[in-house]
């Protein structure tokens, strides 16, 4: 890598970290194509760098989100039980499942939920009903401080069993395909469990680092993590994530949705493209 290329990778990674921190995703969707198409990096090294980028986004942003009570740690830990078991199953199944059609299917699901996002665009926070007995028992009810609204916003998780299953599928898919782990988590928490958008994004951010760490050993062992690529990516993403984490509190749930929506559409199209054999 020339110093110019290093600088370019660093700059793009800052953007990936910033968007990732706000949207609750890892930034792999930006990092991988930028590295392979923009800088001619081998796809394996690009994926290795993207795993590093996910962990950097997650840890960098979550430090602030946990402290500021944006992350719901109980929701996060409860659902990590589903994502980690799903990811292990996915990694084990990867060798025996035909992946092409799965990519296309995932892409269609993502584009479908993009349409759902549009229909929810006007909603600042989900209606607050009294918590269900299961939510109360699992303590999946809380509140977060919304600086934009200037008050505490109470919430409780709905449809917990369905959310848990969705999370298991999110883990399975990311274990199988290595992508989409963040977007599926946000969709499950926002769309199925009806948590406020900012809490969904911050909690997804908290969780994706763990999902990525579970598979990091595999990529390290394969020789896919090259400091020549991963170092400027990690430094850039951390910078972007730290800035993004300061922003989330100040912007509206609607703005978070506006950032998440294009991410969702791009991942959906990229995923369908991969399934149809356009290498990215």
């Amino acid at each position: 890598m020339t110093p110019q290329a290093d600088l370019g990778i660093f700059a793009i990674s800052i953007a990936a970290g910033l968007i990732g921190a706000l949207a609750g995703v890892g930034g792999g969707i930006l990092v991988i194509p930028a590295l392979t198409i923009g800088f001619g990096v081998d796809i394996h090294l690009a994926v290795g760098a993207s795993i590093v980028s996910v962990i950097a986004t997650s840890s960098g942003a979550a430090a602030a989100y946990v402290r500021d009570r944006m992350t719901d740690m109980r929701v996060g830990m409860f659902l990590e039980l589903a994502t980690t078991t799903g990811a292990v199953c996915g990694a084990l199944l990867a060798a025996v499942v035909a992946l092409a059609s799965l990519y296309v299917l995932l892409g269609i699901v993502l584009l479908g939920s993009a349409a759902m996002q549009v229909s929810r665009m006007g909603e600042e926070s989900p209606p607050s009903d009294p918590p269900s007995p299961l939510a109360a028992r699992l303590r999946l009810e809380s509140s977060y401080p919304d600086r934009r609204l200037g008050r505490e916003v109470p919430y409780s998780a709905r449809r917990i069993p369905l959310g848990f299953v969705m999370m298991w599928i999110a883990g399975l898919v990311s274990g199988l395909l290595g992508i989409g782990s963040g977007v599926l988590k946000v969709i499950a928490m926002d769309g199925v469990m009806r948590l406020p958008m900012k809490v969904s994004s911050a909690t997804s951010n908290f969780m994706i680092g763990v999902t990525a760490a579970a598979s990091a050993g595999i990529y390290l062992g394969r020789g896919d993590v090259d400091p020549q690529i991963a170092a400027p990516v990690a430094l850039g993403v951390l910078t972007g994530a730290l800035v993004g984490a300061r922003l989330l509190q100040r912007i509206s749930n609607r703005s978070v949705r506006l950032i998440f929506l294009p991410v969702l559409v791009v991942v959906g199209l990229e995923t369908i493209g991969r399934g149809l054999g356009f290498g990215l």
């Binding site: 960098g60 402290r67 980690t84 084990l92 990690a234």
Partner: protein, 120 residues
């Protein structure tokens, strides 16, 4: 332990992990710009690794202050940060006397460690 304190501990684990790894990766990166990834900051003659993706022989290469090795240690620290966060949460929930969540978190930690060390 109060929920506030618990959050503080988890947040601190993440900040320390990110801080140490950023410092190491940054040092390795800047040093690499000056002397190349596989040079040695103290001018030690050492066996050059076949490539920078090889994490083998890390202690020896760290002793020679090789930029790639410094950055690799930083990357390993970064990868260990979410695991440390889960481990800290097990203790935190236990101290909050929330048995259900201590058990859930412990199960996550077990799955995580199993997949890191045994899934290939």
């Amino acid at each position: 332990m109060t929920p506030e304190k618990f959050r503080g501990v988890v947040s601190t684990v993440l900040i320390v992990g990110v801080g140490i790894s950023a410092a190491l990766i940054g040092t390795g990166f800047v040093a690499a710009l000056a002397i190349g990834w596989q040079g040695s900051l103290i001018g030690a003659a050492h066996a050059i690794q076949p490539s920078t993706t090889d994490f083998g022989g890390l202690p020896g290469r760290l002793a020679a202050l090789e930029p790639a090795a410094i950055a690799q240690l930083g990357l390993l620290t970064l990868l260990a940060t979410p695991v440390s966060r889960v481990a800290a949460s097990v203790v935190g929930f236990a101290l909050e006397r929330d048995r259900l969540y201590a058990a859930i978190t412990l199960a996550v930690l077990a799955i995580l460690l199993t997949s890191i060390f045994f899934l290939r």
